[in-house]
């Protein structure tokens, strides 16, 4: 009896802590979203109330869509993220297969070399990366960003994928070899489908930092036609600091795509982290 009561009390306290923190985590997002649909007066008079018939207004969104090319920014972000992820997964899986499947001179050394980049941030080399992109004429193209994000994502991808590829059964691959399949066919047809969950984990880990990055778009591709959504909203908001309707609407527009991605991939992301893939 006594124990049951203390359990109830404990679980009440646990929920209280969690609900409090959930509110702290979601409050800013909530405030931005509801105020983006209000008139300027209502934003200041009652910042915490939901928009109603009186205070509802889309004026901020109209300004944003007229002034900033958010569809172009969105398209740029999407291209950069999708192509980088594709290259990270393809190149990463190929290298991971070579390292985990074949014994050759320098295998361990190559693994260590590729793992260096897990801990050393690529930003340290920014000065020389900009030099390189200027020399090759890639500056202010999406390719500059794609190449940088591919290089940035490869070390962890190779590390995680080679761990998983070691678990693929040798019998299966050898059966394929006896049937006369080439090494390439074995990789693409037999091994890749089996490590799909690990590939999804790698993709989700890389997706959010690429989508949200501000540093490299700012330095390598600040031109109007190559701006990503993150850089675009940063510049746009900087110009419209006094137009609260526009700023709040621009923030909401920037939040939406990430939230959509999160809703789609959250299970994969959480499973990836909690499966201890990054250790």
């Amino acid at each position: 009896m006594n124990k049951a009561r203390s359990n109830l009390l404990n679980s009440f306290a646990a929920h209280a802590v969690l609900i409090t923190y959930t509110l702290i985590a979601l409050f800013p997002v909530f405030v931005i979203l509801i105020n983006s649909f209000k008139t300027r007066k209502a934003i200041f008079r009652e910042p915490l109330s939901l928009p109603n018939a009186d205070s509802f207004s889309l004026i901020g969104y109209e300004t944003v869509l007229k002034q900033g090319d958010f569809f172009l920014y969105f398209q740029n972000s999407l291209i950069v993220t999708v192509v980088s992820l594709f290259l990270v997964l393809l190149f990463g899986a190929m290298a991971a297969f070579a390292l985990s499947e074949y014994r050759f001179k320098g295998n361990t050394l190559m693994g260590l070399y590729l793992a260096l980049g897990i801990m050393i941030p690529i930003r340290i080399g920014t000065v020389a990366i900009l030099d390189l992109m200027v020399q090759t004429g890639l500056v202010n193209t999406l390719w500059a960003l794609i190449l940088v994000y591919t290089a940035q994502g490869l070390p962890l991808a190779v590390f995680i994928l080679s761990e998983f590829m070691r678990q693929v059964s040798d019998d299966l691959k050898n059966a394929g070899r006896i049937d006369g399949l080439s090494e390439y066919t074995i990789f693409f047809r037999l091994v890749l489908p089996l490590v799909r969950p690990a590939m999804a984990t790698v993709a989700v880990f890389n997706m959010i930092p690429i989508w949200n990055d501000l540093w490299f778009p700012l330095i390598l591709a600040p031109a109007e036609e190559t701006k990503t959504l993150t850089l675009g909203s940063q510049v746009f908001i900087g110009q419209f600091v006094t137009d609260w309707n526009a700023v709040l609407s621009a923030l909401s527009l920037a939040i939406l795509p990430v939230m959509a991605l999160y809703v789609i991939f959250s299970r994969q992301l959480i499973r990836g982290i909690t499966s201890g893939a990054v250790k």
Binding site: I120, P121, G125, D131
Partner: protein
């Protein structure tokens, strides 16, 4: 490792599999890294690049206005890291400990909600908090008024003495989901038998947490610490989004990332200088390398690995 059945035929497919990753990684990551370290030893004199040895570093540490800016940024960076360590990790551990309770309802709902800030970009987070803390808008003052603490209200991001700590706390708010998830995973992987053995010895509840669970999740706390360290010492986006490249007020929120950006690209009246920028990048590289080495040799090697 040398192949035991080394045939006379060269195995081309290994090269094909490795080449793309190694090429991209070497060309875009490793070469620029070393080139940046090399550029720090050069300088621009009369439109020609000349080798100047360690002169850039002598300027950085010797000339008062450079040295002051550098030590200010480094000191701020350490404070930024310190706030993360003492606020982010305890909150993360607390949330994870509650979430890992086996009969907790709605656990996955809480988990997903608390992780939301982590997926938002620094630009969104920086501007959102700037608006919320703004004295003009009045969300923060009216909320403090509700709990009777209106006297505590101050323009936190505008005052030199509060701005850096406020930004560090905003960053903690954003990233608390990561330690929470990693420690949650570590707590779930503790086998039931270990806890039951403790229960038989009379260790339950809070005592079980301190005496059994906490020692077992120490390796995860080590990993989180080094991830936070590396992340903090190349942070830039949040400060840039909230305070601009000048890291105001009066450089009180300047950290190494913003300092390097300003030096590299120039600002206001000062011209950009890639060579001084490289010198600062070299400094950041050294600090991060030192941190990683301390972690690998001093912390990780001493930590006992528990095998179940």
């Amino acid at each position: 490792m040398i192949s035991s059945k080394k045939g006379p035929k060269f195995r081309w497919h290994i090269l094909v599999f490795l080449a793309p990753a190694v090429l991209v990684y070497t060309a875009i990551m490793i070469m620029p890294l070393f080139n940046t370290l090399r550029l720090a030893l050069y300088s621009e004199v009369d439109n020609a690049t000349v080798f100047v040895g360690l002169a850039n570093f002598r300027t950085l540490f010797g000339e008062a206005h450079w040295a002051d800016a550098f030590w200010n940024a480094l000191g701020n960076n350490f404070w930024f890291f310190f706030v993360h360590m003492i606020v982010q990790n305890p909150i993360g551990i607390l949330l994870a400990a509650i979430l890992s309770h086996p009969r907790l309802r709605f656990a996955s709902l809480y988990r997903s909600a608390i992780f939301v800030p982590t997926i938002l970009s620094f630009v969104i987070v920086g501007f959102a908090w700037k608006l919320i803390l703004s004295p003009i808008w009045g969300i923060a003052p009216s909320m403090l008024d509700m709990v009777g603490l209106k006297s505590l209200m101050a323009p936190w991001l505008g005052k030199e003495e509060y701005a850096l700590t406020t930004l560090a706390l905003i960053s903690v708010w954003q990233f608390v989901g990561i330690p929470m998830m990693l420690i949650y995973a570590a707590l779930l992987s503790i086998p039931e038998e270990v806890l039951e053995a403790g229960e038989i010895d009379g260790i339950t509840g809070a005592a079980a947490f301190w005496k059994i669970k906490l020692p077992l999740i120490l390796p995860s706390i080590g990993i989180i610490s080094i991830l936070t360290f590396v992340g903090n010492f190349n942070a830039f986006d949040l400060i840039y989004a909230a305070q601009g490249a000048l890291a105001g007020p009066n450089f009180s929120t300047d950290i190494l990332g913003t300092f390097m950006y300003r030096t590299f690209f120039g600002f206001q009246l000062q011209l950009g200088d890639p060579h001084m920028g490289s010198a600062i990048a070299t400094g950041m590289f050294a600090i991060i390398l030192l941190g990683v080495c301390i972690y690998l040799f001093a912390i990780q090697s001493r930590m006992r690995r528990y095998q179940f």
